[in-house]
Each structure stands twice: as structure tokens, then as C-alpha cells.
């Protein structure tokens, strides 16, 4: 973007231009500009406080986040909802699975700001007090875990799997649960747990 020689009288407009020229520079020459901390500071400043409304586990939150913050890091580091796990940060393991308006998503691949206005459900939000969700009960009964680290993601995915209508057979469950890695190798028990909940017919 060319710099205008004309005196810009409107302060707000000048600020806007400053910001947008920084943005354009970012887009046009990502290599040098992005790596320059001075530029970064200028870019970050107007963006640092992006407001965001989220309903998490039935509680409404008015938040301000950096746009580069993932939903996963927002949950874990800022809201201390650490039941949702970071296993790879690349959408390759499923440990960070949560529900967004009822659909399962990888929260590590989701920028928090893109969820504005949505209802997020995490593992902390599926039991009612001491009454566990049927999927949680089934995971305990069938020992669908060992170390427990992938478990919240498995449970959130398992619930979604039934809701999606992808839990009619064991093979179907295996296929639709393959985005959730369990290194302890509890897969057959996980399939048994999901199958039991599906057959139980409870609303999940």
C-alpha cells in the first residue's frame, strides 16, 4: 500500500490505515515482516483484545483473547478447564476433542475467536453433579483407559459418534473413533463401552 501524501485529518481513519498497512505488509512479505518483533508488537496491539462470547458447559463467558489463541489453550491455560488435553497440537490425536454446538471438533485446530457465540461442551460439562454421563460409566465398567490422558477426548468423541449415527456396529465404531489415539491400547474396551451405551438407548 502506498503512503498517502495528503494530510489525513481523521485520526480514526489514520489509525485504521496504519493498522491496515501493517496487515498488508504482513500478507505481502510474511517472511521478514512477521519475524520482526517491532512489527509484531504493532500488529498485536490492536488485536490483543478481541472480545469473544462463549457458553462453556452452560456458563456464559465474556472473554478477551488474542486471535492466535486456540480454543484448547484458552480452555486449559486461561479458564483452567484442564480436562481437555493437549496431545499433539496438530489435530492428529483427538485428545483435545470437545463439542461445539453439539459437534465434535479438535479444539487445538480451532482458533477460539472462530467460536464466537457458540456453545462449547467439555468433559467437565457432561456429568450432572456426581451423576456420571452413561459414557463415563461405561468407560469405567469396561476399563476403556489406562493412563487416562486420552480419555476425555475419547468420551467426547464416543458421545458424538453415537449422536452422528456412527455406532451401529463394532467396525463402524472402530472407524469413527480412529481420530482418537490411545497409546495405552484400550481400543477394544473403548469399542465395548460405546457399544454398550448405544445399545442401552439412553439419550447422549
Amino acid at each position: 500500500m502506498k503512503t498517502s501524501k495528503k494530510k489525513v485529518e481523521n485520526e480514526a481513519r489514520r489509525d485504521f490505515l496504519k493498522q491496515s498497512s501493517v496487515l498488508s505488509a504482513l500478507v505481502l512479505s510474511p517472511g521478514k515482516a512477521v519475524k520482526d518483533p517491532e512489527w509484531e508488537e504493532k500488529v498485536a496491539a490492536p488485536f490483543e483484545k478481541v472480545s469473544l462470547k462463549l457458553e462453556i458447559n452452560g456458563i456464559k463467558h465474556n472473554l478477551t483473547v488474542e486471535p492466535r489463541t486456540t480454543l484448547l489453550d484458552l480452555l486449559r491455560e486461561q479458564l483452567h478447564l484442564t480436562g481437555t488435553k493437549k496431545g499433539c497440537d496438530f489435530g492428529q490425536c483427538g485428545a483435545c476433542t470437545v463439542h461445539s454446538d453439539g459437534q465434535r471438533i479438535n479444539s487445538c485446530l480451532t482458533l477460539a475467536v472462530t467460536e464466537d457465540g457458540k456453545k462449547i461442551t467439555t468433559i467437565e460439562g457432561i456429568s450432572k453433579g456426581d451423576d456420571l454421563h452413561p459414557m463415563q460409566e461405561a468407560f469405567i465398567k469396561h476399563d476403556g483407559f489406562q493412563c487416562g490422558y486420552c480419555t476425555p477426548g475419547q468420551i467426547m468423541s464416543g458421545i458424538a459418534c453415537i449422536r452422528e449415527g456412527h455406532a451401529d456396529t463394532e467396525d463402524e465404531i472402530r472407524e469413527y473413533m480412529s481420530g482418537n489415539i490411545c497409546r495405552c491400547g484400550a481400543y477394544p474396551n473403548i469399542v465395548d463401552a460405546i457399544m454398550e451405551v448405544k445399545k442401552g438407548g439412553q439419550t447422549v
Binding site: 509484531e40 499433539c88 490425536c93 463415563q136 469405567i140 493412563c147 486420552c150 481400543y187 477394544p188
Partner: protein, 738 residues
């Protein structure tokens, strides 16, 4: 009445199950510590050489950055200055000193840590650190450096071994000599490694760690920073899997502690999945050769086993790759050779079934090959060469029911359907094959201490600094206490994973239940004894061992009126609680009298696609001869998990280095394939479940390692049976079959 599921041999659900399914279990990165800051590592982009210049200015001036720690400005580490790093760190050498010199030992070695007030800011600033290097020629390829192999200095048990005549297999009527290759495999527990370090005072530190031994971590930090042990507190109540990777303190943990000192605030480091491959250990790439010879009627006369094992260039790592060959079969002439090959890579670290899992791939593949050469059933060959006692040390087995396991597994998998002729059966358009293999691992027991504290309300608190990386240690311990004390599990609480608790060994080598469980058992026995002593005349002078302990009550089976509850004993003595701390260990004489091993047998049925060469495990049977099974539910999951790990080992897992750069090219879950749900068939788990009379009071033997040992060769053997193609280099990817 005792609830059978809560006793030894029951199938009680995990004591920490509710915490794990509700997201309330707290792993190291989830502790809330005020003023927390975030560390992000900067990796070396060369493989060998020195750092010439480090430009950290841009990173330092980036928003939110508190410090950039490098070898140029890191706080001094007392043990590094004194050149005496903790021996406990690995037991095998000085290790690599964090941010201490300009030397680069491997690609991805941390050269700096950026600390900032948020994770995002630290991550961005880390991208601004630039380094110039004095690069040297590197060596990362095992195969090209086999000649550099050397005898390890630090582990005498891996020096050359010979029993009988050397290379006797060469003169046998039926013989074969083959090479077997295992690639680098990476533990990849789901929880990322790291540490949260908080200096509470200049000489007092608290860390939240991902460790398989809080006492080990405490000792290493105390040694490294020359602090009294009590000034180092380690918390590690939940560990999201480890499989061996957390058996040592890694340089990046020390780096985080240095960073926390530098910024004078708590620092949390959670390494990336990519870094899980480069800086936190792996199962070493190993070239093996086996020569085996037998008489025509199937008596093995000699075996030779050579192993060349990938190693780093800055410390020695060893594992028992050739151990199983010395005693698994009755063979008069045995020789083994173990060499480590120093390369410009990070050090390996034990990975589930360390050594034996690698060795078993060679030995059990060779056994299978020999069975075809002799035209005998592979089970039959093993039975013909079954050793009635340990041929290595000439000692009786403490217990060995592996022959029962062969029979149980053969029945379960439908071994009778197997054809001894390869590539002779099809099913649903697929080649069908059956395979089996054996595994073994020492049934170890280490000294451990437990505290048992009976409270006035009748609840029991058990404490020991054990770890539970997933197998269900806490659950087993509660069952042992419930059995001995006759108290319902709901009234027993087990505290673990804190360095302030009584001594417990690392959770490695499948020894936790045998070690910590025995200490809990013995502490509870002593607690019972004390209760009897304090019971006044209520039990009419009956001896402790003749009494029944049930429902929180001591009673005499002979005289119903002679009985007293535990709470009443405490009340009568005005005691708010009654406590026993007890150390327990294996009698050394016992250890010299018996060969103590756990055994596993794996059976698999595979389908192989005739055109694409894709292998699908259709059914797996995992059997353990591991003495008393304390909890059938958790033990079954442990065996199942080992079988799943073995499927990965056999079919998909391989960490690949581009040797031109010395850098991993597939260090993520999209390119390094651990098994996913769709890869896993039904896994049947069977236990011989016969008490071992000598290992420990419960009569248990370890499970964690044998669960994986033997699974990969069982699959390789099944693939041969299906296709007639013998794959001697894992993983068995389709390109090797078409």
C-alpha cells in the same frame, strides 16, 4: 463379608477411574501456580558442531518475553561446574548438560529456551532466535557405522557371553543364519513431556513432573543443584503414559529449572509432539544376526546372537537385547555379542520391554524359521526344547507355566486351523496366516517402603512414593490392603506420586506391584499385629496369625465371642490413629536360589491382501504366565495394551531420519503411525494365574513388559504363514510383501 472383586484376584474398577473420566485427574501441566510463565525451546538446526553465534535480541524484545536462556547466560549449575552430574540421571554416564556448552550433539538439541508470560508469546518469540554454527560432519546412520560398534563399559551383563562351544550352530545338520532389523521406535505417550519448575526460595524448589519415579527425579535435581533432598519436592500424581521415557530426568527439565531461576518465576515447559521424537528418547534401531542349528529331530544344539544398537555419542545406553537367547530354550552352546554404535542423535531410553522386545523379534523369528526348516509345528519345536530349569544360571524356575500357556493360546486362536505350509489358505479373498511367539522378562522386586495408617473412623490411608503411569498401581495396592486388613476398598485411600512419601522405586521393569505391593502387604500385616497387641483381653490371647480380619474387625474363628473392631481398639487405647511404616525387600538368598521370570505367549491370526500386501491382524490372543493376577480387569487391559503396541511395532512404527541432514522426517502422528482403533481386532487376554511361591507375598510377577514382548514376531510369523514371505526388517509395510 469380603467383596471378592476388592480382594487379590478380583476385578475391581480403578480407584482413580472417576477422576480420569471426568477430567479431574491432574497431570503435571495442569497445576495452578501463581505468576506462571511459559517456556518454549529453540532446536538446533544442525546435527553436529558448535554454536558460533546466537542472536537472541529480537526474541528478547518481543512482547511478553521475560528471558531467553542459552549456554551464554544460563545460571551456573553446581554439578556441571564440579563435573559431577547426578549418577541417578541415567546411571550410565554424565548425560548431556543443559545449556552448558556450545556443543551440538544432535539435530533438534535445545539451544535456547524462551520464557514469556503466555504460551503464544513464547512460541512466537522462539521463532526469532537465530543461530550460526560451525558445522561438522555427522553420522546418524546405524547400518553405515556397524564397524564402530563397541562393547559397553557400563553394563557388565552385556559383555560377550559364551556357554559351551562358540558358534556351534554352524556344525548342526539343520541350520540357518539370518539378520533381523528393528527401526527406531518412539514411546509417544499421549501426554506430552515437560515439567513445571517453581523455586520457592533460593535453595528450595518444587517441581510438577512427568516422571516414573518421584524419588528419582528428586535425587537428580538435588544432586544437580547440590541441594538437600528435602529442599526438592516433586509432584507427579497422574502420568499420561510414559512407557519408559520418563525413567530419567531429561536435559530440558534441568533447562526449565534454570529458566525458573533466571526469571525468578515459575516456568512451565510442555514440549511439542515433534520434540517427543527428538529430545526424549526412543527404542534404539537395532541390527541383529542370529545363527541357530538343530539336529534333524529338532533338538537345538547351538545359537549365536549378535546385536548392534543405536546409541548417542555422549553417554552409554544399554538394554538386554540378547538376554532372552541365553535361557529361553534348552541349548547347550550359546554365544552372544552386544555392541553399541555411537551416533549423532539423542540418547535412547528404555521403551516397554526394553531389549527383550527387540531381541525376541530376532530369536522368535529364527525359531519360527527353524520350525519350517525342520517341518515341525512351531509350538512343538518350543516344547521339544523347553528348559526344565534356567540353563543360563543352572537354577530352578521360581515358576514357569509357559507350556500351559502354549496350550491355552493354541486352543483360543484355533491353531488347529493353521496349515504348516505357507501361503496355502485363503478366507474372504485374503491370505490367512497363524503365528505365535514367546516373551519373557525378569520378575523383579526392589526395596520399597509403605506407610499404613488406620484412622479412628476406621479408614485406612496407605502412602508410598510410587508412580502410576497407567497400569493401575493404586488399584492393585488398595486390593492388597483390603485383602490383608479386611477393610472395604471404599474405606482405603492410597497416596502416591509425591516425593515426601516413603521410598518407592521407579515404575520400570514391571516391578511396582511386586515392590510397592509387598511393602503395603507387609505394613498391613504389621498393623494387624499391633492391633492384636493393643486389643487387651478381647481376643483372649489368641495369636495374630490364627485370627480372622474382616469387615474392620478381628475375630477368632474358634470362639465367636472373641472379637473386636479396629475402631474399638483405637478407642480403648485413646489413639487418634495407628501407624506403621515398613520397608520390604526380597530375601537375597531367595534371589540366588531361583530364576524368576514372567512369561508371555502371543498368538495371532492375520489376513494379507493378495494384491496390496496390506496386513490386518484379525484376532490376537495374549497370554501371561505372571503368577497371581492381582486385578484381572486392569491386568487384562495391560496385556491388551501391550498387544496393541506390538501391532504398531510389527506393522507401522518407524521413526525415519534423513541422514543427509541427520533429522527426523516423520516426527508427528500423521507420519509416524501408532495403531488407531481401526487397526485393532478383538484381543483375548488369558492368564495362567498360578501363584509364584517365591517372588513376593502375593505371588505375582510383572506384566507391563511381557505384554509387548513377542507380539511383533508372532505377527511376522503369521505373515510368513500367510504369504510365504519372511520379513526380517520391521515394520511389515505392504511394499515388503508385494
Amino acid at each position: 463379608m469380603k467383596n471378592k472383586d476388592e480382594m487379590i484376584g478380583g476385578r475391581m474398577s480403578r480407584v482413580d477411574a472417576v477422576l480420569k473420566v471426568t477430567g479431574q485427574a491432574t497431570y503435571f501441566a495442569e497445576y495452578e501456580v501463581p505468576n506462571l510463565t511459559y517456556g518454549v525451546l529453540v532446536p538446533s538446526t544442525i546435527t553436529k558442531g558448535r554454536i558460533k553465534n546466537l542472536d537472541t535480541k529480537k526474541a528478547e524484545s518481543a512482547p511478553g518475553v521475560l528471558a531467553v536462556i542459552t549456554h551464554l547466560n544460563a545460571p551456573k549449575v553446581p554439578a556441571y561446574e564440579a563435573q559431577e552430574p547426578s549418577k541417578t540421571s541415567s546411571g550410565r554416564g554424565p548425560g548431556m548438560m543443559a545449556f552448558h556448552t556450545d556443543e551440538i550433539h544432535f539435530n533438534g538439541q535445545p539451544i535456547a529456551m524462551v520464557v514469556a508470560d503466555t504460551f503464544e508469546r513464547a512460541t512466537f518469540a522462539a521463532s526469532l532466535v537465530k543461530a550460526d554454527y560451525q558445522e561438522e560432519k555427522h553420522q546418524t546412520e546405524l547400518k553405515a557405522n556397524l564397524a564402530q560398534g563397541k562393547v559397553p563399559k557400563t553394563n557388565k551383563s552385556l559383555q560377550d557371553y559364551q556357554r559351551g562351544e562358540k558358534d556351534a550352530y554352524k556344525n548342526a545338520p539343520v541350520k540357518l543364519e539370518e539378520e533381523y532389523v528393528l527401526p527406531t521406535e518412539v514411546h509417544n505417550p499421549m501426554e506430552l513431556h515437560g515439567i513445571l519448575a517453581h523455586w520457592e526460595a533460593a535453595d528450595k524448589i518444587t517441581v510438577y513432573a512427568k516422571t516414573q519415579g518421584v524419588k528419582m527425579t528428586q535425587q537428580v535435581i538435588a544432586d544437580t543443584f547440590k541441594l538437600p533432598k528435602e529442599n526438592v519436592q516433586v509432584h507427579s500424581q497422574f502420568v499420561g503414559g510414559a512407557f519408559g521415557m520418563s525413567l530419567r530426568v531429561w536435559p530440558h527439565e534441568i533447562a526449565t529449572i534454570l529458566a525458573a531461576k533466571k526469571v525468578n518465576r515459575p516456568v512451565k515447559l510442555v514440549i511439542t509432539r515433534n520434540e517427543m521424537f527428538t529430545i526424549a528418547g526412543y527404542r534404539p534401531h537395532t541390527h541383529q544376526k542370529v545363527g541357530i542349528g538343530a539336529t534333524k529331530d529338532g533338538k537345538i544344539v547351538g545359537i549365536s546372537h549378535w546385536a548392534h544398537v543405536q546409541n548417542s555419542n555422549y553417554e552409554e545406553f544399554t538394554e538386554a537385547t540378547v538376554a532372552m537367547t541365553k535361557f529361553m530354550y534348552r541349548i547347550p552352546n550359546v554365544n552372544t555379542t552386544y555392541r553399541i554404535v555411537p551416533l549423532d542423535i539423542c540418547s535412547p531410553v528404555p521403551m516397554r520391554g526394553p531389549g527383550e522386545a527387540t531381541g525376541a523379534f530376532a530369536l522368535e523369528s529364527a525359531m519360527d524359521e527353524l520350525s519350517y526348516a525342520l517341518n515341525v509345528d512351531p509350538i512343538e519345536l518350543r516344547l521339544m526344547n523347553y528348559p526344565e530349569k534356567d540353563p543360563e544360571r543352572d537354577l530352578p524356575w521360581s515358576s514357569n507355566h509357559v507350556r500351559d500357556a502354549y496350550k491355552m493360546g493354541a486352543d483360543k486362536i484355533g491353531w488347529a486351523n493353521r496349515s504348516n505350509k505357507p501361503k496355502s489358505k485363503m478366507e474372504d479373498g485374503m491370505w490367512v496366516g497363524y503365528g505365535m511367539a514367546t516373551g519373557t522378562f525378569g520378575a523383579h522386586r526392589r526395596p520399597a517402603t509403605a506407610r499404613a495408617c488406620l484412622n479412628a473412623d476406621g479408614t485406612l490411608l496407605i502412602q508410598s512414593a510410587a508412580s502410576d503411569i497407567g497400569p493401575g498401581t493404586g488399584t492393585a495396592v488398595v486390593q492388597i490392603a483390603a485383602e490383608v486388613m479386611g477393610i472395604p476398598a471404599s474405606k482405603i485411600r492410597f497416596e502416591l506420586g509425591e516425593s515426601k512419601l516413603p521410598d518407592a522405586p521407579i515404575q520400570g521393569g514391571s516391578a511396582t506391584v511386586a515392590s510397592v505391593g509387598s511393602a503395603v502387604h507387609d505394613a498391613c500385616l504389621e498393623l494387624r499385629q499391633k492391633l492384636v497387641e493393643l486389643s487387651g483381653n478381647a481376643l483372649k490371647n489368641a495369636k495374630a496369625e490364627t485370627l480372622v480380619y474382616e469387615d474392620g474387625k478381628i475375630s477368632s474363628p474358634k470362639d465367636r465371642s472373641a472379637s473386636i473392631t479396629y475402631t474399638e481398639v483405637l478407642k480403648r487405647n485413646s489413639l487418634p490413629k495407628l501407624e506403621v511404616t515398613k520397608e520390604s525387600k526380597l530375601d537375597e538368598d531367595q534371589q540366588k536360589k531361583f530364576a524368576m521370570y514372567s512369561f508371555s505367549v502371543h498368538f495371532v491370526k492375520v489376513h494379507v491382501h493378495p494384491t496390496t500386501g496390506v496386513v490386518k491382524v484379525k484376532h490376537a490372543v495374549a497370554l501371561a504366565d505372571a503368577g497371581t493376577i492381582v486385578n484381572h480387569k486392569t491386568a487384562s487391559s495391560q496385556m491388551m495394551g501391550g498387544a496393541v503396541g506390538g501391532i504398531g511395532m510389527a506393522l507401522t512404527e518407524e521413526a525415519i531420519i534423513d541422514h543427509r541432514f541427520g533429522r527426523y522426517v516423520n516426527n508427528n502422528f500423521a507420519d509416524y503411525h501408532v495403531p488407531v482403533n481401526a487397526d485393532i481386532p478383538d484381543v483375548d487376554v488369558l492368564f495362567v494365574d498360578k501363584k509364584d511361591p517365591y517372588t513376593n507375598p502375593m505371588g505375582s510377577k510383572g506384566l507391563g513388559e511381557i505384554a509387548i514382548i513377542g507380539m511383533a514376531p508372532a505377527i511376522a510369523n503369521a505373515v510368513y504363514n500367510a504369504t510365504g514371505k519372511r520379513v526380517r526388517e520391521l515394520p511389515i509395510t505392504p511394499d515388503k510383501l508385494i
